[in-house]
Symmetry: C2
Subunit: 233 residues, 2 copies
């Protein structure tokens, strides 16, 4: 069985492109026809997630629900969304369509438990909205893992690095800034790190950090390809 | 006015990814919300184009028509298709939907006339199906330009290089093979070259050749971004 994957994307576009590239790399394919079918709605007009979660801007929920329905009409069998923060609105997406939805947060929390079974504290490299919505705190608490997140100036530095990636800057300086954010969380006691923003693994590799790094993008890619080839949902 | 662009993609997936990446790079954007909306149907299951054109395999026309209708239902305002060979079935796509369709062949032929107004012979780096369907021959003849295409062993070497790109191999050897194919067409008298297969510009740059090189992908990208921002159709 082959399934068509609907991608709620554009949150932001660079992360969606990165997800698409990683899906192609992760698919064993000798000719075009061996690849999986993805229908990607790269919709950058969705209201900004951090402001929506904080209540200081419009909610992205109606736009996300509409995209889910559009992907269903276009022929998708399963939905994914390569954006951690937008998972604060997962319930709205699930309510809008009858399609199964693969939660990036749940598959990442599963991977943390698998990669670092003795971990007590996960350092979360994520945007403010993902942290304050508590999606990872809840999911990891259920697995006995506490979340350590950047605060104050450390948070501002991380947000600045993420904004640079969104603008297409993946150069050495942006990489060094992201690495410094990761090192700070390790210094605070994190024994595993989560790249919990799809812009983070664009410029941060496992080799750049001293503890296991779980890339939410890679975990979602792996699960997406497996489900496209018929893995149980 | 902003328009949503529907992308008939997956022909092949690597070229669709390349098109998406180039659209992002070509869009002036400071934040996510400045980017354009693309709905990409990356459908690699469309029957192989060369065999379809030669009549030795099933026609891709029904699948392409279905994709066009699906993209219309998903909310696209305009359709593009980053695959030269599939333009042999352009009439089937236009017949399937009421949406405007930007022809990659026409915008490329316009660019050849603009970049090399005195050109007499355009060297066409394209797959067998694109060449034998005559889409470029017709479009360029209308602008007074003759097409020179690889034949025999030269064609086989070009097809081999394109297949390598489709498999994700964009290394030095593949680049050198593509450059050699381009040099052969110049030796045969081409005074302008067309990267007339979306896999070609993935590994061939203007600096690699001695005459002007028109990348059908870049031309389509430029036109796509302009139309998304409201340019007249």
């Amino acid at each position: 069985m082959r399934r068509t994957i609907g991608v709620i994307g554009g949150l932001g576009p660079v992360a969606t492109l990165d997800f698409f590239a990683r899906v192609l790399k992760a698919t064993p394919a000798a000719v075009d026809q061996d690849h999986i079918r993805l229908i990607i709605d790269n919709n950058p007009t969705v209201p900004e997630r951090n402001a929506g979660i904080a209540g200081t801007g419009p909610s992205p929920a109606p736009a996300l629900a509409k995209m889910a329905r559009g992907l269903e009409r276009a022929g998708a069998d399963v939905l994914v969304m390569p954006c951690n923060a937008a998972h604060a609105f997962e319930a709205d997406i699930r309510a809008a369509t009858s399609l199964p939805f693969i939660s990036l947060i749940e598959v990442t929390a599963d991977a943390v438990a698998a990669v670092a079974p003795d971990a007590k504290r996960a350092g979360l490299l994520a945007v403010q909205g993902t942290i304050s919505s508590g999606v990872y705190h809840k999911s990891l608490a259920a697995r006995g893992v506490e979340v350590i997140a950047p605060e104050g100036e450390a948070m501002e530095r991380l947000m600045a690095a993420i904004r640079r990636v969104k603008q297409g800057d993946t150069g050495a300086e942006t990489r060094a800034a992201m690495e410094a954010c990761a090192a700070e969380l390790v210094a605070l006691g994190a024994d595993v790190l989560i790249a919990g923003c799809t812009e983070v693994p664009v410029v941060l590799d496992p080799d750049d950090v001293s503890v296991p790094l779980v890339s939410s993008t890679d975990v979602l890619v792996e699960r997406t390809v497996a489900v496209a080839f018929g893995a149980a949902l």
